[in-house]
Amino acid sequence: MAHTLIIVDDEELARRNVELALADHTNWQLAASCASAQAARNVLADKKVDLLLLDIRMPRISGLDLARELAQRSGDQHTPLVVFITAYDEHALAAFDVFAIDYLLKPFDDARFAQMLARVEQQLQLTEHAFNRAAVNHYLREKDAQARGEAEPLLDFFIVRSVGRTERVAVSDVRWVAAAGNYVELVTADRRILHRATLSQIERRLDPALFLRTHRTALVRRKEVLSLQVVGDGSYRVQLRGGDEVQVSERHVEDVRALFRET
């Protein structure tokens, strides 16, 4: 049985673009093509759909507003998975990565479209709707706080897209975080989990009382730090409880030293 989706975008050519791209995927079927969030609501009232492709910037009711309504539905009500489509929104994209929300950039080619659908299919197979809802809720909570001029809420857990599945990683399990290009590694007691986000994006959302930035590439849980050492070439390292050694840069050495003075 084919998966179903609704495309919601106020521009006609944008909707057509998706319809045409979808033609190559026979296991997907377009349930409706909606020019507004209101129209999408009406369709969702009658039908159960697997995926909602939501343009963010729309007049009157934006894609985010609709996503908020859906994410706030209770767990036993069926909600479609949400993937945002956007022409440009730097801040949103960085946040989407952190919260493992899928998005599609306009314009897109066939490969990216296929990639997006593949990820959605995986989530459907593993019935990861709850993750999707939680991610969207997280993101919207942060956005609302920003809009009110309040501090962004701190994270208690990460939603991470791993190979073959999505998982929840509790912040309390994370000992330190290493940066690796556009990704970070969340280092726990027994694993290193790759997460698509930058270290700075992660740092903003963690409690500075718990975590300390020691290097451009490292964010360390304060309690994990055992000792500060100087290495042969004059650079610094901290030794962690788990046995890891983490680099410390000139900029952050003082902050690390302050750690030892606190105890």
Binding site: E11, A14, R16, N17, L20, P59, A87, Y88
Partner: protein, 377 residues
């Protein structure tokens, strides 16, 4: 929309703080008084007379008090009315200084001398008349010199302020250009336009896709030329606006209706400030079309009216009396540019009516210079 840098032309130049200028004048005259006191003191000492230095200082400060007031008033006057710093005005103001203030100063000096000598003021005037003409001449020279030096200082100060204003204006103009450019290459519009073209390619509508690609590249080309400070014509600007609107029509389809009017006798090759119309047209779309599901009619009319060029951009509103907020930044930007380029000879009027929102521009007919140094007096 990016933040608008505030224009130095529209800000007040910093005025002299009255208390600080008084203290400065007092300091200068105080030093002169001090030197005079030293001179007098040394003279008296050599004559063998017993004199206290402190008293000498107080007395000489007292002498110069009117000059302190004169200079302080002069500084304040020329600071508030810099237009007076012209030869005729300077001379005209000098006349009362020479004819009124100088005699008063003489009387004051005589009175002071009588006072310090402990004599009465009864025959003040006769004492005054008996003073040596040399002393009169000295006083006259001192008063004139005080005035002259203060005027010179005011001129110097004004010159510095003008230079700074010119620098600020040039810098500001540059920032305006960059802001405009950022608006032109507004990412949301750009990527949506590209997405529309992507759709045309998918549906194999080669003609339309290519036409749109060409329009988009024309936009970028124009924006690049504009950023290089080139001289661009009215025709160029209208062509740009057409291409821009054509791409918007690609996005919105039948929702966007256009209506062009142009005076056939208008000379399109005349110079025109590049990208002047773009923020206004973008506003119309943003507030007249993107805010609701329906359609919008956008009319652009270009007319010559004697020596003025008149451009009228009007868009229909979905709700009557839709507020003009949000138009604010685009309008402010355009007003600023017009002011920088033409001063009071250009006007921008925005009207929000029941069914439509209209912006009217009028520009002087002669060619514009692109840059901050247009003289608008």
């Amino acid at each position: 929309m990016t933040d608008l840098p505030s224009s130095p032309a529209l800000r007040h130049t910093a005025h002299l703080a009255p208390l600080r200028s008084l203290l400065a004048v007092m300091l200068v005259w105080g030093l002169i008084a001090l030197m005079l006191a030293l001179a007098m003191y040394s003279d008296e000492l050599r004559k063998g007379r017993d004199v206290q230095f402190g008293r000498a200082v107080v007395v000489s400060c007292g002498w110069f008090l009117p000059l302190v007031l004169l200079n302080w008033a002069g500084l304040a006057l020329f600071d508030r009315h810099p237009r007076l710093l012209r030869p005729q005005a300077i001379f005209l103001i000098y006349l009362p200084v020479a004819l009124l203030i100088f005699p008063l100063f003489l009387v004051y000096e005589t009175a002071m001398n009588l006072f310090t000598a402990g004599r009465s003021f009864d025959n003040l005037l006769s004492v005054l008349a008996e003073q040596s003409r040399y002393a009169w001449w000295m006083d006259f020279t001192i008063v004139s010199a005080a005035y002259g030096i203060q005027v010179a200082y005011s001129i110097w100060r004004q010159h510095r302020q003008q230079e700074q204003a010119l620098r600020d204006s040039a810098h500001h103009n540059l920032q305006l250009r960059l802001t405009l450019l950022q608006g032109q290459l507004e990412p949301h519009f750009l990527f949506n336009a590209l997405n529309s073209i992507s759709s045309l390619v998918r549906s194999d509508e080669r003609q339309r896709a290519n036409a749109a690609l060409v329009q988009l590249s024309e936009l970028l080309r124009y924006a690049l030329r504009a950023s290089r400070n080139g001289e661009l014509s009215l025709d160029d600007e209208l062509a740009f606006t057409r291409d821009y609107l054509a791409l918007q029509q690609l996005r919105f389809g039948a929702r966007l209706q256009l209506d062009w009017q142009r005076d056939p006798q208008l000379d399109g090759s005349r110079n025109f400030p590049p990208l002047l119309l773009q923020p206004l047209v973008e506003n119309a779309i943003r507030h007249g079309l993107e805010t609701h599901d329906g359609g919008m009619r956008l009319s652009i009319a270009v007319h010559a009216d004697q020596d003025q060029l008149r451009i009228c951009i009007s868009n229909s509103l979905s709700e009557p009396g839709a507020p003009a907020n949000g138009h604010g930044v685009g309008l402010a930007l355009t007003r600023e540019r017009l002011h920088l380029l033409f001063g009071p000879r250009a006007r921008l009027v925005a009207r929000g009516e029941a069914a439509a929102y209209t912006v009217e521009l009028s520009l002087p007919a002669e060619s514009t210079k692109h840059g901050a140094h247009t003289d608008h007096r």
